[in-house]
């Protein structure tokens, strides 16, 4: 632990430092070793994708980064500060939208903004409308959540995460429940928004192609216990097309590495 802190004083602070994080889940039936000594650095404005088969601790790591869960060992530094709890500098987006059904679209966006101090009423509204426009849903400002399609819900959820202007976005398989066409649209949207708003993004997925399409860097996880195995830098210009041939080269390479690191019984990973 000391070594990590000392080391940090010599290098310029990273946006996010995951330092030797381990996590166990103790239940009555079993002791699950979810994360084993995971370390990871993320630069300001970087788009990092974490890939690995389900159960390898990706969500757990994201929750710990968000401050929703505590690590059993190691620590998280965001802008050089230890993370002790959730905070709006690190906004999280989930696989299900987690939008509040008792509020309409606009009020969902305002929920986080109302918790932000020093914002006047009309300013909150302007900010909310700006982000709704950014995700192309300003017309649905007063729609109810159940009236939106899956893709629209995730767009609203994205806008809700962006509205309080967090420095970092944590996304936990946000597009996994969507159909392929909607997903492709959202790949475009998220890249466009990322470039425009200059966010640092940690994006979790079990889809290798998705990771290669979105990430500056792809970090490969292996399960039981969850460990970082390998990292890939994706040197492709943006915006990237998920169906391009160059992208396929990267995703093939990552998939091959994935299979190498997996025990044979867990080798089924979505393309």
């Amino acid at each position: 632990m000391m070594a990590v802190t000392e080391e940090l004083q010599n290098v310029p602070p990273e946006k996010l430092v995951v330092a030797g994080v381990s996590k166990w889940f103790r239940t009555s039936r079993a002791d699950v070793h979810a994360l084993d000594n995971v370390s990871l650095n993320v630069r300001e404005g970087e788009f990092v994708c974490l890939v690995g088969p389900s159960g390898c601790g990706k969500s757990t790591l994201l929750n710990i980064i968000a401050g929703l869960e505590q690590p059993d060992a190691g620590q998280i530094l965001a802008d050089g500060q230890p993370v002790t709890g959730p905070g709006r500098e690190r906004m999280m987006m989930f696989q299900e939208s987690a939008l509040f059904p008792w509020l309409d679209v606009l009020d969902n966006l305002l929920f986080g903004l109302k918790l932000k101090p020093n914002l006047k009423r009309h300013e909150r509204r302007e900010v909310a409308q700006f982000y709704l426009k950014l995700v192309g849903l300003e017309k649905f400002m007063h729609a109810n959540i159940h009236e939106l399609s899956g893709g629209m819900k995730q767009r609203v959820a994205l806008a809700r995460c962006l509205a309080p202007n967090p420095r970092m976005l944590l996304m936990d398989e946000p597009f996994a429940a969507l159909d392929a066409l909607t997903r492709e649209q959202l790949y475009g949207d998220i890249q466009r928004i990322w470039e425009k708003r200059k966010k640092t993004i940690v994006f979790v997925t079990h889809n290798v192609r998705e990771a290669a399409c979105l990430g500056d860097r792809v970090v490969l996880f292996s399960p039981h216990p969850g460990r970082v195995q390998e990292e890939f830098t994706i040197g492709l210009p943006r915006p990237r097309d998920i169906n391009s041939v160059e992208l396929a080269k990267y995703s093939t390479e990552i998939t091959r590495a994935l299979k190498r690191h997996l025990k044979p019984e867990a080798a089924e990973v979505a393309e």
Binding site: R88, A98, F100, P101, F111, N144, H146
Partner: protein
């Protein structure tokens, strides 16, 4: 508009047949009064204020008792859901008492409070409280944890999370619990009023009781009609807006 027309026509025809059956003495007027007699009683008792007075007293008992039930029940339900110890103690009591028709409290209530308003309030509170406690508890337990997690990342904490996330998220359960509590309280209050004389005021139940004693079946039927109307109005005024809100927001089927 057209629906109202049909409904009005239907009830007019029904009253017509009823009147005809009584006039032809196919139905004995001793057992069933004519609708005109019922209407006459209604007009008279409204004019001499006896019916209004009784209606006012009954509604006061019901509403005040229900509000107390709500004010106690909501926080108690939330606390039950929050603390395991309460769930295992108060929760079990609530579950048991919810199955007890609250008019069964009448003997004890009379012993404790005498033939007073307090006894009636007590019965109404016992009728509504437990349904509301259980519904709130169940509602909170059924809130997807992801809502609270999302709220926490947006900076919501403690009481704010409970009031702005957990409580509204459990509304579908709470509203149906409130409805059930209302129905239990209303039925038990009527039963109590019919069988127990309360010295501080005569409610609709008492009027019904006297109607029977005096064998004034026109009064009995008129009061029954008033009780039905109050039930319908309560549903429209108290619960319809909530149900419309739930339907609009959650997109659930209207029942």
């Amino acid at each position: 508009m057209k629906r109202w027309l049909w409904a009005g026509l239907f009830f007019l025809v029904l009253a017509g047949i009823w009147e005809w059956l009584v006039r032809r003495e196919i139905w004995s007027p001793v057992l069933i009064p004519s609708p005109l007699d019922v209407a006459r009683y209604l007009v008279e008792s409204i004019r001499d204020k006896s019916l209004l007075q009784a209606g006012y007293i009954t509604m006061k008992r019901l509403l005040l008792g229900y509000i107390v039930g709500l004010v106690l029940g909501l926080p108690l339900g939330l606390l039950n859901a929050r603390f395991k110890l309460l769930e295992d103690t108060v929760g079990i009591v609530a579950l048991g008492l919810q199955t007890l028709p609250s008019v069964c409290w009448a003997p004890l209530a009379l012993l404790w409070f005498g033939q007073t308003e307090t006894a009636m309030f007590f019965i109404v509170i016992m009728g509504s409280l437990w349904s509301i406690v259980i519904a709130t508890d169940t509602g909170v337990r059924n809130v997807p944890p992801i809502y609270a997690r999302a709220a926490r990342t947006m900076g919501s904490r403690g009481l704010h999370t409970w009031l702005k996330v957990i409580l509204p998220a459990s509304l579908p359960f709470i509203v149906s619990g409130m409805k059930q509590g209302w129905a239990f309280a209303w039925r038990s209050l009527m039963a109590a009023e019919i069988y127990v004389t309360i010295l501080t005021g005569f409610g609709l139940g008492h009027l019904l009781h006297y109607g029977r004693e005096l064998h004034a079946m026109d009064a009995v039927i008129a009061i029954m009609l008033v009780i039905i109307v109050i039930g319908l109005l309560a549903d429209k005024i108290l619960f319809s807006p909530w149900e419309k809100f739930l339907h609009r927001r959650w997109g659930t089927a209207r029942n």
